[in-house]
Structures are given as structure tokens and as C-alpha cells.
Symmetry: C2
Subunit: 458 residues, 2 copies
């Protein structure tokens, strides 16, 4: 049977898969940093080449930002069409000194590949390319029609995907979308994520004097933009971690007792989880467990803070400006546009006229919850069970995939998220990793998924 031979092929070519992934991980495709745009383009070209080698017709399509790689195995008479979505861009690396081995010099140790993007999303995305490659090598083609949309701006909020999808609705037409950009439940258990949060990402800059001033000579003369900024940020939440933007919770559905019971019974070990994060204790909106907050409650977090003298030691300046980057994670039915306006209005009403304020929106996307009873969902469950040898868990996730509500709206397609990596894989942190065993099991699962989709259609 073709499926068995495809899996044999995948297992026999593990070294080749790993070598190729290491190549991709060496490209520092940080989408947030303008001086990396050449590297981002290199990563796109690399992905396109691998898709071509898997027998697909591929294109690297320009956008107003970084390019999108599109590939298509071509029309056929039978069966559904699967769209694989992923991204080849990565997060910035943060403090390079915190990496055991350099972020863009992937190193294999303790059975895992350490590199920025190892899991998010280069490694996980690449499983689907290797699965297609195996089908192509063994069976001369894919068991269903498969399209790939691999973008390069996911880590900056996917600003150009929406116009792209709108402009290419027919080309992207599909019956379901499959994505691997989420995590397993625990080291042994793969997971299908059926819900993600929305995102509104803001940067607020406060400007005071025309230049940094000596805080001794000029203290008491003008408002300090950094002081004003701390007051604005502090006003966003109360001490019980409730977000104070007017109307913020208006469209948030209360958790039902059934959901609450399901999450309570999920076996999630809150104490062990917090200990693993290294924080003194759990903290969040009063009245909810950690899992309830992560899966079903909107949140607001400061992501970055800057202003004045940030070097070692002391410098006595009144900063000319100060800024904060912060983001809100939204749940189903919260409208990102409305939340965005509420945020701006709240700060504008509070910012004193002793300073000047600018607000920039870096990203805005809605939440998504997938139906649990679809063909694709069943095909994914069986594929993960085959690939990992263990039934997958069904989970929700606090992260954001802006593409999900977009695909639903523009293509009428629901998405299935198969998670292969560990939940503690240092996503967005130093020393990001992806276990080799998970990479290979993920590749097998991706191959099974295509096979299962083909069987479903018969």
C-alpha cells in the first residue's frame, strides 16, 4: 500500500530531511528587522525550491512586504483540495548572549535541533514539504490536490496576507487548511489546536522635550515622557489583572460549566507548569484558572519598554521620548477594530497635554475556533495517532494565527492545526528547539493526513 511505502521512505530519508532543515535554519529571516529583508527573500527562494523538488508548481509572489511562496500540485478530478499554510520568517533572537549556541547556527544536542525558527515555524512547516516530497518520490504524485501558502510576515502580524488572499481567492480555493504552528500537549502527546486568540498589537510613543535634558538642571521644568508613559500603561489594568478599557469585555462569552469542567479535568498541572516557567507564582485575571485564562480569556501584556538611558550604570537625563510595545490577545467575538479604537481612545483621553503621544498599530487579527466534527479534523486525528503512535489531545491556544479567521471568511475553509513541537520549546525565546523525533513523527503525520484525506473522499 502506498501509505506504508511513503512512511518507509520518510524514515529512510531522515538524515536528508534534517540536513535540509538545518540549511533553512541558517538563514536569519527575521521579518521584523528591515536589514534582514535580503535573508527573508533568501528563505522564500529556498522554500520554493524544496516545493519544486516535491513535484509542485511553485511561485515566489511579491507583496507590499516580504514575499509569499505559493505552490500547487495541480488540478485533478477526484478528492478534496488541501491548503497547507505556514511561515518561513522568524522572531528576533533577543539577547545573543542567552543562546547556548548561536541562533542561526543550528546545533543538534540531546536529540533536538537548537535554532531560531526550529519549531516556529520552519521546522514544523517543513514537515509538510517533506511529506509531499515522500509522496512524490514513492507514488509519483500526491494523493489529493495540495496547495501551499508559506508567508514571510507571520511574526509581524501578517500585514500583507489579507490583501493577498483577497486578490487570489480562486487560486487558493480549497476544502480545508492544515497548519502546523502549534505545540503538543505534553512531551508524549501530539495535539490538535482548535482555537486561537486574536491580537491587537500597539506601540505607544510619548514625546517631551526636543532632546534629552540634564535631569538636574531641567528637573521641574517639563513633563518627563517616561514618567507619563508608566502612568498610561499602569492605567490599563487593575490589581486583579482586569483590563480597564471601556467595553473590552462586552463581547467576551462567559465560560460555560461544561467548558470549565473539561478544562479542569484536562490533567493540566498548574503548579508544575508555573515552576517550569520559573516565575514566583501564577498570576492573571481574578476568578479564573491558568488554563481558563490561557484558552478562553483575553489578556494584555507589555512586550517591550524603552526610553532614556538604557546602558550600564547611571546617566541623569530627562528622556526626549519613551515608548511601549504592548499587545492584547482577544477571544472569539471580540472585534479587533473595536478593541483597537477603545485602546486609542482610552490613552488619548488620559495623555496629558504636557507631552505629545503617537500610537501605532503593528497588528490586528481576530480569534478562531474550529468545528470539531469535520472530515479534516478526523483525518488529522488519525494522522497524528499514526505518526506519533498516540491519540492526540484537543486543545486551545493563547497564540494568534491571523490567517484562520481570514481563510474562513475569504475561502470558506476551516483550518486544522496539528502540533508537533514541545510546548516548552522556547518559542520566541533564546534556545528555541525542535526534537528530531518530533520532526520525523510530524513528517509521518503530515503524510498520513494527505492519505487520510484521500480515503475520506472515496
Amino acid at each position: 500500500m502506498a501509505m506504508d511505502r511513503v512512511v518507509e521512505y520518510i524514515d529512510a530519508h531522515q538524515d536528508e530531511s534534517v540536513e535540509q532543515l538545518l540549511e533553512l535554519l541558517r538563514i536569519p529571516s527575521i521579518s521584523a528587522q528591515p536589514d534582514r529583508s535580503g535573508d527573508v527573500a533568501d528563505a522564500a527562494a529556498w522554500v520554493s525550491q524544496r516545493l519544486g523538488e516535491a513535484g509542485l508548481t511553485t511561485e515566489v509572489l511579491p507583496t507590499a512586504g516580504h514575499p509569499i511562496v505559493f505552490a500547487d500540485s495541480g488540478p485533478r478530478d477526484d478528492g478534496p483540495t488541501v491548503l497547507v499554510y505556514g511561515h518561513y520568517d522568524v522572531q528576533p533572537i533577543g539577547d545573543p548572549d542567552k543562546w547556548v549556541t548561536p541562533a542561526f547556527e543550528p546545533a543538534v544536542r540531546d536529540g533536538a535541533i537548537f535554532a531560531r525558527g526550529a519549531a516556529d515555524d520552519k521546522g514544523q512547516m517543513f514537515t509538510h514539504i517533506r511529506a509531499a516530497h515522500a509522496w512524490h518520490a514513492v507514488a509519483g504524485g500526491l494523493p489529493v490536490r495540495v496547495k501551499f501558502l508559506i508567508e514571510g510576515e507571520e511574526e509581524t502580524g501578517s500585514p500583507n496576507v489579507e490583501p493577498f488572499v483577497r486578490a487570489h481567492r480562486e487560486r487558493l480555493a480549497c476544502d480545508c487548511v492544515v497548519i502546523s504552528d502549534t505545540a503538543k500537549l505534553d512531551p508524549e502527546t501530539p495535539a490538535i489546536t482548535y482555537g486561537t486568540k486574536g491580537l491587537v498589537y500597539k506601540e505607544v510613543k510619548v514625546f517631551g522635550p526636543a532632546k534629552d535634558l540634564h535631569s538636574g538642571s531641567f528637573g521641574g521644568s517639563v513633563a518627563n515622557p517616561a514618567t507619563i508613559l508608566t502612568g498610561l500603561v499602569a492605567a490599563l489594568k487593575d490589581e486583579h489583572d482586569r483590563i480597564l478599557l471601556p467595553g473590552f469585555y462586552d463581547d467576551v462569552k462567559a465560560i460555560t460549566d461544561t467548558e470549565r469542567d473539561a478544562m479542569g479535568g484536562s490533567g493540566f498541572d498548574e503548579a508544575a507548569f508555573i515552576e517550569q516557567l520559573g516565575a514566583p507564582c501564577a498570576f492573571g485575571e481574578a476568578g479564573y484558572t491558568v488554563l481558563e485564562r490561557r484558552w478562553t480569556r483575553p489578556t494584555l501584556d507589555v512586550n517591550g519598554l524603552y526610553g532614556g538611558y538604557m546602558g550600564e550604570g547611571a546617566a541623569t537625563v530627562i528622556p526626549a521620548s519613551a515608548g511601549v510595545k504592548l499587545s492584547m490577545r482577544l477571544v472569539l467575538d471580540q472585534d479587533p477594530e473595536r478593541i483597537s479604537r477603545a485602546f486609542d481612545d482610552f490613552l488619548r483621553a488620559r495623555c496629558p497635554d504636557t507631552v505629545r503621544m503617537e500610537i501605532e498599530t503593528h497588528g490586528s487579527a481576530g480569534a478562531y475556533v474550529a468545528p470539531l466534527d469535520s472530515e479534516a479534523m478526523r483525518a488529522a486525528s488519525r494522522a497524528l495517532a499514526s505518526g506519533f503512535g498516540r491519540e492526540p489531545a484537543r486543545v486551545r491556544e493563547g497564540g494568534t494565527l491571523p490567517i484562520l479567521p481570514l481563510f474562513k471568511r475569504e475561502l470558506g475553509a476551516e483550518s486544522v492545526m496539528m502540533g508537533f513541537c514541545r510546548s516548552d520549546c522556547n518559542l520566541h525565546s533564546p534556545n528555541e528547539f525542535f526534537h528530531l523525533s518530533d520532526f520525523h513523527a510530524g513528517t509521518r503525520s503530515a503524510a498520513h493526513f494527505l492519505g487520510n484525506m484521500s480515503n475520506h473522499s472515496r
Copy 2:
């Protein structure tokens, strides 16, 4: 008369003075930055060499930090002993892109030298060395005994001067201290500063999770250290800019009507001053004018703010830590130790146990007000009138010279501060400058001061 010939010598050797100052300004002696310690040592050696050329016995003495340059013209039977204090270290340069010409490549334009340290304090300090040099060249020696104490840690709060002065009380013995590290009143009028503020400089770091976390996956799990930090900073002041530390104002004397009238009648143009700073409007403690706040009221300013992702664009992290650098400027009778404790206690009581907090003190010093009727004050007034051709103003200053209360306590000596540079000379900011005409007039004034001190003693 010797005095006339000294002034002639100074004016005839202006080019040599400028060339030498440019040499000193090329040394990037930033005391706050550990990787600049070699440069700081170079600046000390350079200063020592120039003092030797002025006929003084000089030494570069080590401290626990950067070295102190000490020089002495030697004992004599008559006249008072003058101690010249200054510093050869400089502030960090901030954003290099904001400098029209590089901070450590001094450039002369529009009649001024542009470089970090041009005014604060290399340029102003060097006037006294050139004045001594001129006396030495013309008269074969100085008219009174002169000692120099030129330190290299003033910009980091002079942490090692106090033990140095205590250990060398007899060596430093003097009748008065003269310092040029303050500004003129306006472009035409030199100034004697008779009061400075104290300083308590703190750095507060808040620690949360062991590493930066994905704000989507982990939002709602743990407290965000940057959010907590903004709340702590915002709690330090009310909306009228009153500092909320318990007991903070206990030892602050009310301004008398006489003082208020004097400051009101000083001709200070508040609107022009604020316009020059480029801020939307004046702001500070309610109930006081800008000049009252700057000269007589304690202040608190955030000097730096940092945490999480500070690069371009967006990154969705919960930062592992965040920090703030901030300083309080104190007035006479406020005890820096007591204020320091009040600050720490206030934050410790407010910091939730969801995070860990560290408080570091970078500097602590008292305020100082000099007597207006001393011999040295009269000698300085006449010297400035001679050097600049205009009677000096008497002003107070919001900056801190930690050395002043120290000299009074340990050496029993009062200080006189002669200000040569412009008040808008971009002290601690990009494009710091010192007018050549002020440099030369300052050098003449420094020479006159020594001559006047000699006459006083006869």
C-alpha cells in the same frame, strides 16, 4: 603688573589652548561604560601631564574605580590655599545619529567646539589648568598655593571620591574650593552658582519568568514584570507632580517671600525657556514657578526605562525582566540616606510577590548652599567681571555636585562655582558645545581668581 601679563599671555596663546583641549576631547572617557576604562585612564594621564607642564607636582592616584589626578604647586609661607576641583570623565553620548559631528571628533563651528565633554567638564576644568600654566610661564609660579583634584567618576555619582578625600584630608587641606562645572545665566552674563541639589539615583529591576515567553501562549499565566514596573513607577508621583514617598518633603524648607520675590524678579523668561527646550509646555510640582522648582524644590525623574523587545516592529514576548533608572534631586536639609530608605521601603511595600524586585543605588549625595559673603566669593565675582567684562549673576542650580557637602564636612572648606559655558550647551545631550570666547574668558577669569585670592591675603 603680573596679572596683566598673565592675561596677555593667555590671549596670545589661545590657539595652543584650543589645540590642547581638542586633544582631551578626542579621548572617549565615558565613566559609566566599563569598556571605556582604558580611555578614562588615558584622559587622567593626559590631565596629569598638562598639570605637570603648568609647574605643579602631579600624581595619578588609583581608586576602587577610575583614578583621581592630584596636583600641588607646593607649600609657601603666605596666602591662602585654593583647591581646584573638576572632572575629566564624560556622559555617554546617547544616539550617535543625533550628533551633527561625532561626539569624540571635536569640531569647531559657529565659534564653538562641539564634542561630548566640551563644557561638562573637560572644557571648563581645563581653563584652570591653562590659567595655572599662564601664571607659571609669566611669573615663574602661582600667586597662591594651588591644588587640583580632577576626578574621573563625576558622571556616575563620584562613588570613590568620599573615601579618597577622607584618606587624604591633610594633603587636600585648603581655604576654599573653586569649581567650574556650572553655566552662565544667559549668553552675556557669567554666573556664580551658590546652591546645588542633592541626588539619590536608583535602578529598579523587576524579574518574572526565567526567560522571555510567548505572550500568546503564556499570557494569563504569570505576572508581566514590565507591567508591574510601570505600576511601581506611576505610584511615585501624583498628577500634580508631588512625590508620594512618605516623609519626602519633611525636611524641605518652605520658600520665603524674599526668595520668591528675588526669583520672580530675576528676569527669568519662563515661556522662552520652555520654548527653547522644545516641550509642549512647562510642567512640575503644582504651586511653584519653573525657577522655584529648578532652584528650591526636590524633583524625581525617570532617566531610563527598558525591558522586553526594544527593536523595530513587533515581537510578542512577556519579558523575563524590566528595569527603570530614576533619580531624585534633593534640596538642603533632605538627608539622602533617609530618602533612599524611604524609596526602597515604598517600592518594597508595593511590589507584589508575583515578581522579584532588585533595587540598586547608583549615587547618593546631599545638596549644598555656599555663603555669599566669603573672601573667595568676592574674589570670584571680581574675577568673572574682569574675565568676561560683565558682572556675574548669582544663581542656584538643579544639578548635583556631590563633592560640595563632602568638602565642607571633611575639609571645612566652602566652594565657589564659576560658570563659563552657555546654559543651553547640550549638557548630557547630543551636540554638546562650548564657545571659544567663553573658553578664553573663562581662562582669564580663572587666572584673575588666583590673583585676587593672592591680593586678599595681603
